[in-house]
């Protein structure tokens, strides 16, 4: 499970640190272990969603957030959602990993063998989805 790529992301996370302005902010926790992430999104006029985040937790949750940042920072909701859905299916062992969609995220495949850790791997991605949906519903309300 602890592949070199994961350890790299864990030790040198990409994109960590909150920025302003933002359209939506969410705080997600993994109540069984105390992993936490605060994630903000800012949608541009052409529908691209910029991400910033801060988190604490285990190597898997930290690495996964860093990988998420690499993969879906500045993409559209549809593209980001595709990646989240693919990750979920991969961790349920229902699809084989697609590097075009997940990038380094394919290294998280081994987490599927440890059900207790699947939540750690999903935490950042689920936070992104929640924030992106909140931001878009705010956009519609305007």
């Amino acid at each position: 499970m602890y592949q070199e790529i994961i350890l790299d992301h864990y030790k040198h996370p990409h994109g960590k640190g909150l920025t302003e302005p933002f359209d939506a902010e969410v705080h997600h926790v993994n109540p069984t272990c105390g992993d936490e992430i605060t994630l903000r999104v800012k949608t541009s006029a052409d529908g691209l969603i910029a991400i910033s985040y801060d988190n604490q937790g285990c190597s898997i949750s930290q690495a996964s957030a860093s990988i998420m940042f690499d993969q879906i920072n500045g993409v559209t909701f549809a593209a980001g959602e595709q990646a989240v859905d693919h990750l979920v299916l991969m961790l349920q062992r229902e699809v084989s990993p697609d590097e075009d969609i997940l990038g380094d995220g394919i290294a998280l495949e081994g987490v599927a063998q440890y059900p207790a850790r699947v939540k750690c791997a999903l935490l950042a991605w689920m936070a992104w989805k929640d924030a992106a949906i909140q931001a878009s519903s705010k956009g519609e309300a305007k």
Binding site: L7, C33, G34, S61
Partner: protein, 427 residues
């Protein structure tokens, strides 16, 4: 006192015949969450089902009589284990339900009182007024915190708590402030499941008595690990779970003083807990039956009774001494590993064998994972005591807990596993 023969004890626990993670020896250091079960307990449960199974306290056929006898004999035996009378022991699903039973007695007494309904004699002690106080501590398991938070929320009572010292103990200097003449109940743990600290009961009981408050003791981590005699504790209730003391899942216990149980309105209602029933209203049985609605967990009671026999054969003083030796060894071993910080008392006086720690630069989940790969089963996270983690500014801990089937080899396996986690992650 003769040391425990751990090798012989282990032979009674079928789970140690298996291996984990590619053929490794199972080093089970998670008994604080739930203990393993000896074959004597499994056999007792099986025998109940194979030979005596029937719904207890119902029917007049032979099996129903035998099942009822087995169930009530279990109650007598389990009550004896804590120096209590059978009638003062209520079976529940687990400790969580036992604590809720008391919390809901307060709520139900308060609700019925406010509507002018009949209550058992003495139930005024359970009636809360706006501003009355409920006292817990900051080291409680969520099971002994949330029920009281909810009770306060529903009744307008105020939840107050005893703070903790930096070395992981109840801060006695705050008792006089926190326990006041508005306090109706003080509910604290006997041994912290995260910190391992054992509560010095006398001062807290004294403070509660001085203001006429009831005292409930969460004995989940004490009854399985040390001699406990309710006649010496001076408290009104103790609650614990069978599954942490070699017994089956699905059975817990609430002991209460006779006159106090008698004053409590019921919690869960239905069959078995009644005296007379009419369409308009009903009256309720005496304790313990008043609190045991529905067909009870007879097979689990029989299993827990066998667990009591098993522990009695070893002797609880010997169990405590064994765990004390292991605790000293763990504290010594961990002190030698750079970067390990114990969360809880660092010395073994008044301390049980629940040992939590953090490792600098590494999250407990990752420590737990490497230990698991080495066959060492520990628990990681906040251990259902999240405020304790906040108090000591850690997001979570790795926790090893010990029992009668653990030995020095297990202590070594823990230390070795921590060292290999450090090496693997380069911290």
């Amino acid at each position: 006192m003769a040391p425990l023969d751990v090798t012989a004890i282990k032979r009674d626990f079928p789970i140690f015949n298996r291996t984990v993670r590619d053929g490794r020896r199972l080093v089970y250091l998670d008994s604080g969450a739930t203990s393993q079960k000896p074959v004597q307990v499994l056999d007792a449960e099986r025998e109940f089902y194979e030979k005596h199974n029937a719904a207890v306290h119902r029917g007049a056929h032979q099996l129903a009589e035998e099942a009822t006898d087995a169930f009530e004999h279990a109650r007598l035996n389990i009550a004896g284990f804590i120096g209590a009378k059978a009638d003062d022991l209520v079976f529940t699903k687990n400790a969580t339900e036992a604590i809720n039973l008391v919390a809901y007695s307060f709520l139900n007494a308060t609700l019925k009182f406010s509507r002018g309904k009949d209550l058992p004699d003495g139930a005024e002690r359970f009636v809360l007024a706006e501003g009355d106080e409920i006292v817990v501590s900051e080291m409680e398991h969520h099971a002994n915190l949330i029920p009281w938070q909810e009770l306060a929320d529903k009744t307008g009572a105020v939840l107050r708590w005893i703070g903790l010292t930096d070395d992981g103990r109840l801060d006695e200097s705050t008792y006089a402030n926190v326990i006041t003449n508005r306090t109706k109940i003080v509910s604290v743990t006997h041994q912290s499941n995260l910190l391992g600290s054992v509560t010095d009961l006398a001062p807290i009981v004294k403070a509660a008595r001085a203001v006429g408050a009831l005292v409930l003791l969460d004995a989940c981590q004490s009854v399985p690990h040390m001699p406990v005699d309710v006649s010496e504790l001076g408290v009104d209730f103790i609650a614990w779970s069978g599954h942490k003391m070699l017994g089956p899942l699905g059975i817990g216990c609430l002991w209460g003083k006779s006159e106090i149980l008698a004053a409590m309105p019921p919690f869960i209602t239905g069959g078995s807990m009644i005296e007379t029933v009419h369409m308009e209203s009903s009256t309720f049985a005496l304790p313990p039956k008043r609190f045991e609605a529905g067909v009870p967990m007879a097979a689990q009671a029989v299993g827990l009774s066998a667990a009591v026999d098993y522990l009695n054969r070893i002797g609880m003083a010997a169990v405590a001494a064994h765990e004390h030796d292991l605790t000293q060894a763990v504290l010594r071993e961990l002190a030698e590993i750079d970067g390990v910080r114990i969360i809880g008392p660092k010395d073994s006086t008044n301390r049980g064998s629940a040992i939590s720690f953090v490792l600098d630069g590494l999250h407990p989940h990752d420590v737990g994972q490497i230990l698991d790969e080495n066959g060492v089963a520990v628990r990681v996270g906040h251990h259902c005591a999240w405020p304790v983690c906040r108090r000591y500014s850690v997001p979570a801990t790795t926790r090893a807990t010990f029992y009668i089937y653990n030995d020095m080899e297990d202590v070594q396996a823990l230390a070795d596993g921590i060292r290999s986690a450090k090496k693997f992650f380069g911290v």
